[in-house]
Protein backbone atom coordinates (compact mmCIF):
# COMPACT_ATOMS: atom_id res chain seq x y z
CA UNK A 1 0.00 0.00 0.00
CA UNK A 2 2.93 2.34 0.72
CA UNK A 3 4.12 4.66 -2.05
CA UNK A 4 7.38 3.70 -3.72
CA UNK A 5 8.49 7.30 -4.24
CA UNK A 6 9.42 9.65 -1.40
CA UNK A 7 10.28 13.35 -1.49
CA UNK A 8 12.73 14.59 1.15
CA UNK A 9 12.50 18.28 1.97
CA UNK A 10 15.74 19.50 3.55
CA UNK A 11 18.83 17.46 2.77
CA UNK A 12 21.01 17.84 5.87
CA UNK A 13 22.32 15.17 8.24
CA UNK A 14 18.90 13.60 8.86
CA UNK A 15 17.55 14.23 5.34
CA UNK A 16 20.61 12.57 3.83
CA UNK A 17 20.38 9.64 6.24
CA UNK A 18 16.68 9.20 5.38
CA UNK A 19 17.52 9.37 1.66
CA UNK A 20 20.16 6.68 2.09
CA UNK A 21 17.95 4.42 4.22
CA UNK A 22 14.98 4.78 1.88
CA UNK A 23 17.08 4.18 -1.25
CA UNK A 24 18.53 1.06 0.40
CA UNK A 25 14.95 -0.05 1.17
CA UNK A 26 14.00 0.17 -2.52
CA UNK A 27 12.31 3.59 -2.61
CA UNK A 28 12.90 6.11 -5.35
CA UNK A 29 13.94 9.27 -3.50
CA UNK A 30 13.78 12.89 -4.65
CA UNK A 31 14.95 15.90 -2.65
CA UNK A 32 14.47 19.64 -2.29
CA UNK A 33 17.23 21.66 -0.70
CA UNK A 34 18.21 25.31 -1.14
CA UNK A 35 21.84 24.22 -1.33
CA UNK A 36 22.76 22.91 -4.80
CA UNK A 37 25.94 21.28 -3.48
CA UNK A 38 23.98 19.10 -1.06
CA UNK A 39 21.82 17.82 -3.91
CA UNK A 40 24.87 17.19 -6.11
CA UNK A 41 26.54 15.27 -3.30
CA UNK A 42 23.45 13.08 -2.79
CA UNK A 43 23.04 12.50 -6.54
CA UNK A 44 26.69 11.50 -6.86
CA UNK A 45 26.36 9.17 -3.87
CA UNK A 46 23.27 7.63 -5.46
CA UNK A 47 20.97 8.26 -2.48
CA UNK A 48 18.54 10.45 -4.48
CA UNK A 49 17.48 10.15 -8.12
CA UNK A 50 16.52 13.81 -8.62
CA UNK A 51 16.78 17.07 -6.76
CA UNK A 52 15.81 20.73 -7.02
CA UNK A 53 16.72 23.91 -5.22
CA UNK A 54 13.42 25.54 -6.14
CA UNK A 55 10.07 24.25 -4.84
CA UNK A 56 8.02 23.88 -8.06
CA UNK A 57 4.63 22.27 -8.57
CA UNK A 58 5.78 20.16 -11.50
CA UNK A 59 8.49 18.58 -9.29
CA UNK A 60 6.68 18.33 -5.95
CA UNK A 61 3.38 17.06 -7.34
CA UNK A 62 5.10 13.92 -8.65
CA UNK A 63 5.22 12.64 -5.04
CA UNK A 64 2.43 11.30 -2.80
CA UNK A 65 4.71 10.88 0.21
CA UNK A 66 6.75 13.80 1.56
CA UNK A 67 9.14 13.77 4.53
CA UNK A 68 10.26 17.12 5.95
CA UNK A 69 13.76 17.01 7.41
CA UNK A 70 13.71 20.75 8.11
CA UNK A 71 14.07 22.40 11.51
CA UNK A 72 10.62 22.76 13.15
CA UNK A 73 9.89 26.45 12.42
CA UNK A 74 11.22 26.14 8.89
CA UNK A 75 8.94 23.15 8.31
CA UNK A 76 5.83 25.06 9.44
CA UNK A 77 6.87 27.94 7.20
CA UNK A 78 7.46 25.59 4.26
CA UNK A 79 3.94 24.16 4.61
CA UNK A 80 2.53 27.69 4.75
CA UNK A 81 4.29 28.82 1.58
CA UNK A 82 4.53 25.61 -0.46
CA UNK A 83 1.47 23.48 0.30
CA UNK A 84 -0.28 24.72 -2.84
CA UNK A 85 2.38 22.88 -4.87
CA UNK A 86 1.53 19.49 -3.31
CA UNK A 87 -0.69 16.97 -5.10
CA UNK A 88 -4.08 16.20 -3.50
CA UNK A 89 -4.06 13.10 -1.31
CA UNK A 90 -0.37 13.41 -0.41
CA UNK A 91 0.79 12.23 3.01
CA UNK A 92 3.34 14.43 4.75
CA UNK A 93 5.45 13.44 7.72
CA UNK A 94 8.47 15.04 9.42
CA UNK A 95 11.41 14.48 11.73
CA UNK A 96 11.34 17.43 14.09
CA UNK A 97 12.36 16.94 17.71
CA UNK A 98 9.41 18.80 19.25
CA UNK A 99 5.84 17.93 18.42
CA UNK A 100 3.10 19.97 20.14
CA UNK A 101 3.90 23.34 18.47
CA UNK A 102 4.57 21.69 15.08
CA UNK A 103 1.84 19.06 14.83
CA UNK A 104 -1.16 21.19 15.82
CA UNK A 105 -0.04 24.20 13.81
CA UNK A 106 0.61 22.22 10.62
CA UNK A 107 -2.66 20.31 10.99
CA UNK A 108 -4.48 23.61 11.54
CA UNK A 109 -3.15 25.33 8.41
CA UNK A 110 -2.98 22.30 6.11
CA UNK A 111 -5.25 21.97 3.06
CA UNK A 112 -8.08 19.52 3.84
CA UNK A 113 -7.09 17.23 0.95
CA UNK A 114 -3.62 16.61 2.47
CA UNK A 115 -2.69 14.73 5.62
CA UNK A 116 0.22 15.34 7.97
CA UNK A 117 1.37 12.95 10.69
CA UNK A 118 4.24 13.77 13.06
CA UNK A 119 7.24 11.49 13.55
CA UNK A 120 10.55 11.74 15.41
CA UNK A 121 13.52 9.52 14.62
CA UNK A 122 15.54 9.39 17.86
CA UNK A 123 18.98 9.28 16.31
CA UNK A 124 21.54 11.89 15.42
CA UNK A 125 25.12 12.93 15.41
CA UNK A 126 27.29 15.73 16.80
CA UNK A 127 27.81 16.90 13.22
CA UNK A 128 25.57 18.34 10.54
CA UNK A 129 25.15 18.37 6.77
CA UNK A 130 24.43 15.73 4.15
CA UNK A 131 28.14 14.84 3.90
CA UNK A 132 27.94 13.47 7.45
CA UNK A 133 24.74 11.53 6.84
CA UNK A 134 24.81 7.84 7.69
CA UNK A 135 21.70 5.70 7.93
CA UNK A 136 23.42 3.17 10.20
CA UNK A 137 22.53 5.45 13.15
CA UNK A 138 18.91 4.33 12.71
CA UNK A 139 19.70 0.69 13.37
CA UNK A 140 17.96 -0.31 16.57
CA UNK A 141 17.05 3.32 17.39
CA UNK A 142 13.60 4.52 18.48
CA UNK A 143 11.14 5.91 15.94
CA UNK A 144 8.23 7.78 17.48
CA UNK A 145 4.95 8.47 15.70
CA UNK A 146 2.71 11.16 17.21
CA UNK A 147 -0.79 10.92 15.72
CA UNK A 148 -3.73 13.15 16.70
CA UNK A 149 -7.48 12.81 16.19
CA UNK A 150 -6.93 14.44 12.78
CA UNK A 151 -5.02 11.39 11.52
CA UNK A 152 -6.36 8.36 9.66
CA UNK A 153 -5.37 4.78 10.44
CA UNK A 154 -3.79 4.26 6.97
CA UNK A 155 -1.56 7.31 7.50
CA UNK A 156 -0.45 6.01 10.90
CA UNK A 157 0.36 2.63 9.37
CA UNK A 158 2.26 4.16 6.45
CA UNK A 159 4.31 6.31 8.82
CA UNK A 160 5.21 3.32 11.00
CA UNK A 161 6.04 1.23 7.93
CA UNK A 162 8.44 3.97 6.81
CA UNK A 163 10.27 3.70 10.15
CA UNK A 164 10.43 -0.08 9.92
CA UNK A 165 11.74 -0.01 6.33
CA UNK A 166 14.52 2.41 7.38
CA UNK A 167 15.72 -0.06 10.01
CA UNK A 168 14.56 1.54 13.26
CA UNK A 169 14.50 -0.90 16.16
CA UNK A 170 11.38 0.17 17.98
CA UNK A 171 8.36 1.98 16.56
CA UNK A 172 6.15 3.63 19.17
CA UNK A 173 3.00 5.73 19.18
CA UNK A 174 2.73 8.69 21.56
CA UNK A 175 0.54 11.78 21.73
CA UNK A 176 2.37 15.02 20.87
CA UNK A 177 2.04 16.05 24.53
CA UNK A 178 3.49 12.77 25.84
CA UNK A 179 6.29 13.06 23.29
CA UNK A 180 7.30 16.57 24.32
CA UNK A 181 7.16 15.77 28.03
CA UNK A 182 9.36 12.72 27.55
CA UNK A 183 11.80 14.36 25.15
CA UNK A 184 12.04 17.41 27.44
CA UNK A 185 13.53 15.11 30.05
CA UNK A 186 15.44 12.41 28.14
CA UNK A 187 16.93 14.64 25.46
CA UNK A 188 16.57 18.37 26.11
CA UNK A 189 17.38 18.35 29.84
CA UNK A 190 20.39 16.10 29.17
CA UNK A 191 21.69 18.60 26.61
CA UNK A 192 21.16 21.48 29.09
CA UNK A 193 23.07 19.51 31.72
CA UNK A 194 25.97 18.71 29.39
CA UNK A 195 26.24 22.33 28.20
CA UNK A 196 26.10 23.68 31.77
CA UNK A 197 28.72 21.21 32.96
CA UNK A 198 30.99 22.18 30.08
CA UNK A 199 30.59 25.95 30.55
CA UNK A 200 30.19 26.46 34.33
CA UNK A 201 33.89 27.14 34.91
CA UNK A 202 37.31 27.54 33.39
CA UNK A 203 38.49 24.11 32.23
CA UNK A 204 41.50 24.72 30.01
CA UNK A 205 43.91 23.16 32.53
CA UNK A 206 41.70 20.16 33.16
CA UNK A 207 41.66 18.26 29.88
CA UNK A 208 44.86 16.40 30.68
CA UNK A 209 43.38 14.95 33.87
CA UNK A 210 39.98 13.99 32.52
CA UNK A 211 38.68 10.45 32.90
CA UNK A 212 35.83 8.86 30.98
CA UNK A 213 33.11 10.13 33.33
CA UNK A 214 33.49 13.76 32.38
CA UNK A 215 33.95 12.84 28.71
CA UNK A 216 30.74 10.80 28.68
CA UNK A 217 28.73 13.50 30.42
CA UNK A 218 29.87 16.19 27.98
CA UNK A 219 29.88 14.29 24.67
CA UNK A 220 26.65 16.08 23.65
CA UNK A 221 28.03 19.44 24.84
CA UNK A 222 29.38 19.75 21.29
CA UNK A 223 26.04 20.96 20.06
CA UNK A 224 24.35 22.48 16.99
CA UNK A 225 23.40 25.85 18.45
CA UNK A 226 20.84 26.77 15.79
CA UNK A 227 18.79 23.60 16.04
CA UNK A 228 18.95 23.13 19.79
CA UNK A 229 18.10 26.76 20.62
CA UNK A 230 15.01 26.35 18.49
CA UNK A 231 14.07 23.01 20.08
CA UNK A 232 14.53 24.38 23.62
CA UNK A 233 12.35 27.43 22.96
CA UNK A 234 9.61 25.42 21.26
CA UNK A 235 9.34 23.22 24.36
CA UNK A 236 9.95 26.02 26.81
CA UNK A 237 7.43 25.28 29.58
CA UNK A 238 8.13 21.56 29.68
CA UNK A 239 11.89 22.09 29.70
CA UNK A 240 11.81 24.72 32.44
CA UNK A 241 9.83 22.29 34.59
CA UNK A 242 12.39 19.52 33.96
CA UNK A 243 15.27 21.88 34.82
CA UNK A 244 13.51 22.82 38.07
CA UNK A 245 13.06 19.16 39.05
CA UNK A 246 16.70 18.42 38.29
CA UNK A 247 18.04 21.48 40.13
CA UNK A 248 15.91 20.59 43.17
CA UNK A 249 17.47 17.17 43.11
CA UNK A 250 21.00 18.70 42.92
CA UNK A 251 20.17 21.02 45.83
CA UNK A 252 18.91 18.10 47.95
CA UNK A 253 22.14 16.23 47.26
CA UNK A 254 24.13 19.34 48.16
CA UNK A 255 22.24 19.66 51.44
CA UNK A 256 23.00 16.04 52.34
CA UNK A 257 26.69 16.70 51.60
CA UNK A 258 26.69 19.94 53.62
CA UNK A 259 24.98 18.16 56.54
CA UNK A 260 27.37 15.21 56.38
CA UNK A 261 24.27 13.05 56.03
CA UNK A 262 25.77 9.72 54.94
CA UNK A 263 22.49 7.81 55.25
CA UNK A 264 20.65 10.11 52.83
CA UNK A 265 23.56 10.09 50.37
CA UNK A 266 23.67 6.31 50.37
CA UNK A 267 19.89 6.04 49.97
CA UNK A 268 19.90 8.39 46.95
CA UNK A 269 22.76 6.42 45.39
CA UNK A 270 21.00 3.10 45.93
CA UNK A 271 17.89 4.56 44.29
CA UNK A 272 20.03 5.86 41.43
CA UNK A 273 21.76 2.50 40.85
CA UNK A 274 18.41 0.72 40.96
CA UNK A 275 16.75 3.08 38.47
CA UNK A 276 19.71 3.03 36.11
CA UNK A 277 19.31 -0.73 35.61
CA UNK A 278 16.14 -0.17 33.60
CA UNK A 279 18.13 1.83 31.07
CA UNK A 280 20.72 -0.81 30.30
CA UNK A 281 20.75 -1.72 26.64
CA UNK A 282 19.52 -5.20 25.85
Amino acid sequence: MIEDKVLIVGLGLIGGSYAEALTNAGFQVGAIDRNRESLDYALAKGIITEGTVRPEKEFISRYRLIVSCLYPNTFVEWIRTCQDLIAPGTLITDTSGVKVPVVYEVQRILRPDLEYIGAHPMAGRERSGVVNSDCSVFKGANYLVTPTSANTQPAIETCKELGRRMGFGKISELSPEEHDEMIGFLSQLTHCVAVSLMTCRETSEMAKYSGDSFRDLTRIAAINETMWSELFLLNRDVLIHQIDMFVNSMEALKKAIADGDTETLRAVMRDSSQKRKQFEKN
Copy 2:
Protein backbone atom coordinates in the same frame (compact mmCIF):
# COMPACT_ATOMS: atom_id res chain seq x y z
CA MET B 1 66.17 1.21 42.46
CA ILE B 2 62.51 0.20 42.91
CA GLU B 3 61.62 -2.73 45.18
CA ASP B 4 60.64 -5.97 43.44
CA LYS B 5 58.11 -6.90 46.13
CA VAL B 6 54.88 -5.01 46.76
CA LEU B 7 52.27 -5.48 49.48
CA ILE B 8 48.68 -4.61 48.55
CA VAL B 9 46.42 -3.70 51.48
CA GLY B 10 42.75 -4.15 50.52
CA LEU B 11 42.07 -6.55 47.68
CA GLY B 12 38.94 -5.14 46.03
CA LEU B 13 38.43 -3.96 42.46
CA ILE B 14 41.42 -1.60 42.49
CA GLY B 15 43.59 -3.76 44.75
CA GLY B 16 43.05 -6.75 42.48
CA SER B 17 43.75 -4.70 39.37
CA TYR B 18 46.97 -3.38 40.94
CA ALA B 19 47.97 -6.94 41.89
CA GLU B 20 47.39 -8.10 38.32
CA ALA B 21 49.25 -5.15 36.75
CA LEU B 22 52.19 -5.47 39.15
CA THR B 23 52.45 -9.24 38.71
CA ASN B 24 52.42 -8.74 34.92
CA ALA B 25 55.18 -6.15 35.36
CA GLY B 26 57.39 -8.69 37.16
CA PHE B 27 56.76 -7.75 40.79
CA GLN B 28 56.18 -10.29 43.51
CA VAL B 29 52.86 -9.27 45.07
CA GLY B 30 51.49 -10.04 48.52
CA ALA B 31 48.11 -8.97 49.87
CA ILE B 32 46.22 -8.32 53.08
CA ASP B 33 42.43 -8.46 53.02
CA ARG B 34 39.94 -9.28 55.76
CA ASN B 35 38.09 -11.48 53.27
CA ARG B 36 39.72 -14.91 52.89
CA GLU B 37 37.80 -15.60 49.67
CA SER B 38 39.28 -12.56 47.96
CA LEU B 39 42.79 -13.77 48.79
CA ASP B 40 41.99 -17.30 47.60
CA TYR B 41 40.61 -15.92 44.33
CA ALA B 42 43.76 -13.84 43.76
CA LEU B 43 46.06 -16.74 44.65
CA ALA B 44 44.19 -19.05 42.26
CA LYS B 45 44.37 -16.43 39.53
CA GLY B 46 48.09 -16.07 40.15
CA ILE B 47 48.02 -12.31 40.75
CA ILE B 48 49.42 -12.60 44.31
CA THR B 49 51.96 -15.03 45.71
CA GLU B 50 50.84 -14.84 49.33
CA GLY B 51 48.01 -13.36 51.34
CA THR B 52 46.80 -12.97 54.90
CA VAL B 53 43.58 -11.88 56.58
CA ARG B 54 45.43 -10.79 59.68
CA PRO B 55 47.91 -7.90 59.71
CA GLU B 56 50.97 -9.46 61.34
CA LYS B 57 54.47 -8.05 61.72
CA GLU B 58 56.15 -11.15 60.37
CA PHE B 59 54.14 -10.85 57.13
CA ILE B 60 54.05 -7.06 56.67
CA SER B 61 57.70 -6.45 57.55
CA ARG B 62 58.80 -8.56 54.58
CA TYR B 63 57.81 -5.65 52.30
CA ARG B 64 59.50 -2.27 51.71
CA LEU B 65 56.76 -1.02 49.37
CA ILE B 66 53.12 -0.96 50.46
CA VAL B 67 50.12 0.20 48.42
CA SER B 68 46.86 0.85 50.24
CA CYS B 69 43.79 0.13 48.10
CA LEU B 70 41.45 0.81 51.02
CA TYR B 71 38.76 3.50 51.14
CA PRO B 72 40.23 6.78 52.46
CA ASN B 73 39.03 6.66 56.07
CA THR B 74 39.88 2.98 56.37
CA PHE B 75 43.38 3.68 55.11
CA VAL B 76 44.00 6.38 57.72
CA GLU B 77 42.67 4.01 60.38
CA TRP B 78 44.89 1.18 59.09
CA ILE B 79 47.99 3.38 59.38
CA ARG B 80 46.97 4.36 62.88
CA THR B 81 46.52 0.77 64.07
CA CYS B 82 49.06 -1.14 61.95
CA GLN B 83 52.04 1.13 61.31
CA ASP B 84 53.99 -0.51 64.15
CA LEU B 85 54.06 -3.69 62.06
CA ILE B 86 55.84 -2.02 59.12
CA ALA B 87 59.60 -2.33 58.58
CA PRO B 88 61.69 0.86 58.95
CA GLY B 89 62.39 2.62 55.66
CA THR B 90 59.25 1.31 53.96
CA LEU B 91 57.52 3.51 51.36
CA ILE B 92 53.73 3.60 51.50
CA THR B 93 51.46 4.89 48.76
CA ASP B 94 47.70 4.66 48.19
CA THR B 95 44.90 4.95 45.67
CA SER B 96 42.26 7.03 47.40
CA GLY B 97 40.20 9.48 45.37
CA VAL B 98 40.55 12.43 47.75
CA LYS B 99 43.90 13.68 48.90
CA VAL B 100 43.91 16.68 51.28
CA PRO B 101 42.25 14.93 54.26
CA VAL B 102 44.20 11.70 53.69
CA VAL B 103 47.68 12.94 52.80
CA TYR B 104 48.17 15.47 55.58
CA GLU B 105 46.63 13.24 58.24
CA VAL B 106 48.70 10.18 57.33
CA GLN B 107 51.89 12.25 57.08
CA ARG B 108 51.09 13.80 60.47
CA ILE B 109 50.63 10.50 62.30
CA LEU B 110 53.22 8.39 60.46
CA ARG B 111 56.34 7.11 62.17
CA PRO B 112 59.34 9.26 61.16
CA ASP B 113 61.22 6.25 59.75
CA LEU B 114 58.44 5.58 57.18
CA GLU B 115 57.42 7.66 54.17
CA TYR B 116 53.97 8.02 52.63
CA ILE B 117 53.27 9.60 49.24
CA GLY B 118 49.73 10.00 47.87
CA ALA B 119 48.67 8.71 44.46
CA HIS B 120 45.38 8.42 42.60
CA PRO B 121 44.86 6.06 39.65
CA MET B 122 42.07 7.65 37.59
CA ALA B 123 40.42 4.45 36.46
CA GLY B 124 37.59 2.33 37.77
CA ARG B 125 34.49 0.38 37.04
CA GLU B 126 30.80 0.43 37.95
CA ARG B 127 31.40 -2.84 39.83
CA SER B 128 33.38 -3.79 42.90
CA GLY B 129 35.35 -6.69 44.31
CA VAL B 130 38.49 -8.54 43.29
CA VAL B 131 36.48 -10.81 40.95
CA ASN B 132 35.78 -7.77 38.77
CA SER B 133 39.37 -6.55 38.79
CA ASP B 134 40.97 -5.97 35.40
CA CYS B 135 44.23 -4.10 34.94
CA SER B 136 43.42 -3.22 31.33
CA VAL B 137 41.45 -0.21 32.67
CA PHE B 138 44.82 1.39 33.53
CA LYS B 139 45.98 1.42 29.92
CA GLY B 140 46.29 5.04 28.84
CA ALA B 141 44.57 6.30 32.01
CA ASN B 142 45.83 9.12 34.22
CA TYR B 143 47.95 8.40 37.30
CA LEU B 144 48.26 11.34 39.68
CA VAL B 145 50.98 11.69 42.29
CA THR B 146 50.40 14.24 45.06
CA PRO B 147 53.65 14.92 46.92
CA THR B 148 54.03 17.42 49.75
CA SER B 149 57.07 19.06 51.33
CA ALA B 150 57.33 15.96 53.54
CA ASN B 151 58.24 13.78 50.56
CA THR B 152 61.69 12.90 49.25
CA GLN B 153 62.62 12.91 45.57
CA PRO B 154 63.37 9.15 45.53
CA ALA B 155 59.87 8.44 46.90
CA ILE B 156 58.29 10.63 44.21
CA GLU B 157 60.27 8.83 41.52
CA THR B 158 59.39 5.36 42.89
CA CYS B 159 55.70 6.26 43.00
CA LYS B 160 55.75 7.50 39.39
CA GLU B 161 57.70 4.44 38.27
CA LEU B 162 55.01 2.24 39.83
CA GLY B 163 52.38 4.01 37.70
CA ARG B 164 54.46 3.64 34.56
CA ARG B 165 55.11 -0.06 35.18
CA MET B 166 51.36 -0.68 35.60
CA GLY B 167 50.68 0.80 32.16
CA PHE B 168 49.17 4.18 32.99
CA GLY B 169 49.23 6.58 30.05
CA LYS B 170 50.02 9.83 31.75
CA ILE B 171 51.79 10.36 35.08
CA SER B 172 51.26 13.81 36.60
CA GLU B 173 52.29 15.61 39.76
CA LEU B 174 49.79 17.80 41.60
CA SER B 175 49.55 19.22 45.09
CA PRO B 176 46.84 17.57 47.25
CA GLU B 177 44.86 20.83 47.06
CA GLU B 178 45.06 21.04 43.27
CA HIS B 179 44.08 17.38 43.07
CA ASP B 180 40.97 17.75 45.20
CA GLU B 181 39.83 20.91 43.41
CA MET B 182 40.20 19.23 40.03
CA ILE B 183 38.65 15.92 41.08
CA GLY B 184 35.77 17.77 42.76
CA PHE B 185 34.83 19.05 39.34
CA LEU B 186 35.85 16.34 36.85
CA SER B 187 34.78 13.35 38.89
CA GLN B 188 32.67 14.17 41.95
CA LEU B 189 30.43 16.83 40.37
CA THR B 190 29.85 14.57 37.36
CA HIS B 191 28.73 11.77 39.68
CA CYS B 192 26.39 14.18 41.53
CA VAL B 193 24.95 15.28 38.18
CA ALA B 194 24.41 11.72 36.96
CA VAL B 195 22.77 10.67 40.23
CA SER B 196 20.49 13.75 40.27
CA LEU B 197 19.49 13.23 36.65
CA MET B 198 18.66 9.60 37.37
CA THR B 199 16.64 10.30 40.52
CA CYS B 200 14.94 13.67 39.91
CA ARG B 201 11.70 12.14 38.64
CA GLU B 202 9.76 8.97 37.92
CA THR B 203 11.37 7.28 34.91
CA SER B 204 9.92 3.77 34.78
CA GLU B 205 7.97 4.50 31.58
CA MET B 206 10.89 6.20 29.87
CA ALA B 207 13.44 3.44 29.36
CA LYS B 208 11.86 2.27 26.12
CA TYR B 209 12.26 5.73 24.56
CA SER B 210 15.79 6.48 25.71
CA GLY B 211 18.48 7.41 23.22
CA ASP B 212 22.22 7.34 23.81
CA SER B 213 22.38 10.85 25.31
CA PHE B 214 20.53 9.93 28.47
CA ARG B 215 22.36 6.60 28.71
CA ASP B 216 25.75 8.30 28.44
CA LEU B 217 24.88 10.92 31.05
CA THR B 218 23.70 8.31 33.56
CA ARG B 219 26.25 5.51 33.05
CA ILE B 220 27.97 6.50 36.31
CA ALA B 221 24.60 6.81 38.11
CA ALA B 222 25.07 3.11 38.89
CA ILE B 223 27.32 3.96 41.81
CA ASN B 224 29.04 2.37 44.82
CA GLU B 225 27.18 4.21 47.59
CA THR B 226 29.66 3.42 50.36
CA MET B 227 32.74 4.68 48.57
CA TRP B 228 31.21 7.72 46.88
CA SER B 229 29.42 8.96 50.03
CA GLU B 230 32.78 8.87 51.78
CA LEU B 231 34.56 10.65 48.89
CA PHE B 232 31.88 13.37 48.68
CA LEU B 233 32.02 14.10 52.43
CA LEU B 234 35.83 14.15 52.53
CA ASN B 235 35.85 16.82 49.82
CA ARG B 236 32.77 18.60 51.09
CA ASP B 237 33.70 22.28 50.69
CA VAL B 238 35.21 21.89 47.25
CA LEU B 239 32.28 19.83 45.99
CA ILE B 240 29.65 22.24 47.34
CA HIS B 241 31.41 25.06 45.52
CA GLN B 242 31.42 23.04 42.26
CA ILE B 243 27.72 22.23 42.64
CA ASP B 244 26.97 25.93 43.16
CA MET B 245 28.86 26.91 40.00
CA PHE B 246 27.07 24.25 38.01
CA VAL B 247 23.61 25.12 39.36
CA ASN B 248 24.23 28.80 38.60
CA SER B 249 25.06 27.80 35.06
CA MET B 250 21.82 25.75 34.79
CA GLU B 251 19.83 28.68 36.17
CA ALA B 252 21.35 31.06 33.63
CA LEU B 253 20.43 28.66 30.84
CA LYS B 254 16.91 28.39 32.24
CA LYS B 255 16.57 32.17 32.30
CA ALA B 256 17.64 32.40 28.65
CA ILE B 257 15.03 29.76 27.78
CA ALA B 258 12.32 31.52 29.82
CA ASP B 259 13.20 34.85 28.18
CA GLY B 260 13.22 33.33 24.68
CA ASP B 261 16.75 34.69 24.39
CA THR B 262 18.03 32.88 21.30
CA GLU B 263 21.25 34.90 21.10
CA THR B 264 22.35 33.97 24.62
CA LEU B 265 21.43 30.31 24.09
CA ARG B 266 23.45 30.16 20.90
CA ALA B 267 26.42 31.91 22.50
CA VAL B 268 26.47 29.46 25.42
CA MET B 269 26.26 26.51 23.02
CA ARG B 270 29.08 27.86 20.86
CA ASP B 271 31.20 28.25 24.00
CA SER B 272 30.26 24.72 25.04
CA SER B 273 31.18 23.21 21.65
CA GLN B 274 34.45 25.10 21.65
CA LYS B 275 35.44 24.01 25.16
CA ARG B 276 34.46 20.40 24.56
CA LYS B 277 37.03 20.12 21.75
CA GLN B 278 39.85 20.22 24.31
CA PHE B 279 38.50 17.05 25.90
CA GLU B 280 38.48 14.91 22.78
CA LYS B 281 40.61 11.82 23.20
CA ASN B 282 43.75 11.74 21.12
